[in-house]
Symmetry: C2
DNA sequence: TAGATTGTTAATCGATTAACAATC
DNA sequence: TAGATTGTTAATCGATTAACAATC
């Protein structure tokens, strides 16, 4: 039950699995399933029961011997670990096609993240509205982030704009960057900004590798 | 030099790194760098030189002792392994916000994939055009895939539609699915369809974990 | 030839799985 | 209490790194 997060570093492999548990548990709740054993969950998720127990125990004992796990309790604990109840705030920088796809996406809301502002440099885009948000001039980004205590910046900008934007953001209190630009960015010296680089192209190519291999072997 | 692909199974960890090599090598070519040693590349990519040599040797010797790697040659070999020159074809199923972001994306073209068709079920969307493609009725998807020998289906559809769409696609000669729907799909029994599930929400949550942890520790 | 750097084997490290004592 | 299932330690497996002989 007690939080071990501060005691030892959680491996990246574990962290990457947490959102998956989060998804499956939400599904169980939706189906009114109240309790589940590591074995049952392992069958649904296609991983070993051992791994589930190891993973969950990184954060403390969430289960009960002889009973299993209380689904709602486990879900709320994992939600907490993932910061779902932390009231994190975000801005989206670059309102092109990808930016637009994210603005209208339940992705953020589902995870308790509030999108507070949209930014672009194009005068034709600045001033347009999406729901209750109006696209602002990127030059006002620093002030906006500072005034509103923004936690996360979503970068849906061209590769060429990534470096400058990173420098601007480094001057704010931003804590994380979700980077969709093709530039591979890393945290500036002396800062402590967590960066998640999303390379959709890499995902597509991993698929292409398998497809191409199969195609060659088959004909 | 000789292709070892058929000899032993390449580990997933290696496959996931190939697109990254692809990107860095393209960058080197753009900067007119003709040759590079594993050590130099390792410094740029922030991995060990040992790993680079191990990775590349899964596919055969692409380098030369005492010299290093010829950038253009290595790039073309990796491109080939990733199927860039295989003339793969694709359709996009579901022309909502995410679908639109992908239609207008150089992602496919950059990797030699030709997007041949767009599909949707919404009568208001069917018939609209994007570049030289017109959105077709999803009911015509099976025939279109068969007639055009489509390799890859990109699913940008709601979670609820994923199961049915998968069943339809299973009746075609589709070889791969790039799945953006929140449903976690797997290959139907008896078929050999490679599936790449993209969970943008999982990526966002992994970032949130780090951000939330830092926030808690700092205040 | 001497220097450099690969290809490849061996050593290390970390992550996954198995086993079982603890306990509900 | 007996049965079930966790939490946790130990064993295994695989991936990464180090080392070095091969060779350009």
């Amino acid at each position: 039950m007690n939080n071990k997060q501060n005691e030892k570093k959680i491996s990246n492999a574990v962290i990457r699995r947490l959102p998956r548990y989060f998804r499956y548990l939400r599904e169980l709740i939706r189906n009114d399933i109240m309790r589940i054993s590591s074995r049952e969950l392992s069958e649904k998720m296609n991983i070993t029961a051992s791994q589930i127990r190891q993973d969950l125990n990184c954060f403390g004992g969430f289960g009960q011997q002889g009973y299993g796990y209380n689904v709602k309790f486990l879900y709320s604990e994992i939600s907490h670990i993932l910061g779902v109840d932390n009231g994190l705030t975000a801005i989206i920088v670059g309102i092109g096609n990808v930016g637009k796809a994210l603005v209208n996406n339940p992705l953020f809301e589902k995870r308790g993240i509030k999108v507070m502002g949209l930014f672009d440099t194009d005068p034709n885009v600045i001033g347009t509205t999406f729901g209750d948000l109006t696209v602002m001039d990127a030059r006002d980004m620093t002030n906006f982030c500072m005034d509103n205590g923004i936690d996360i910046a979503v970068l849906t900008i061209p590769k060429a704009a990534a470096k400058d934007t990173l420098e601007v953001l480094a001057e704010t209190e931003i804590r994380g960057i979700w980077n969709f630009s093709n530039a591979e960015i890393s945290c500036p010296e002396g800062k402590n900004i967590k960066i998640e680089n999303v390379h959709l192209g890499d995902s597509l190519m991993a698929l292409c590798y398998e497809v191409a291999l199969e195609k060659e072997n088959n004909q």
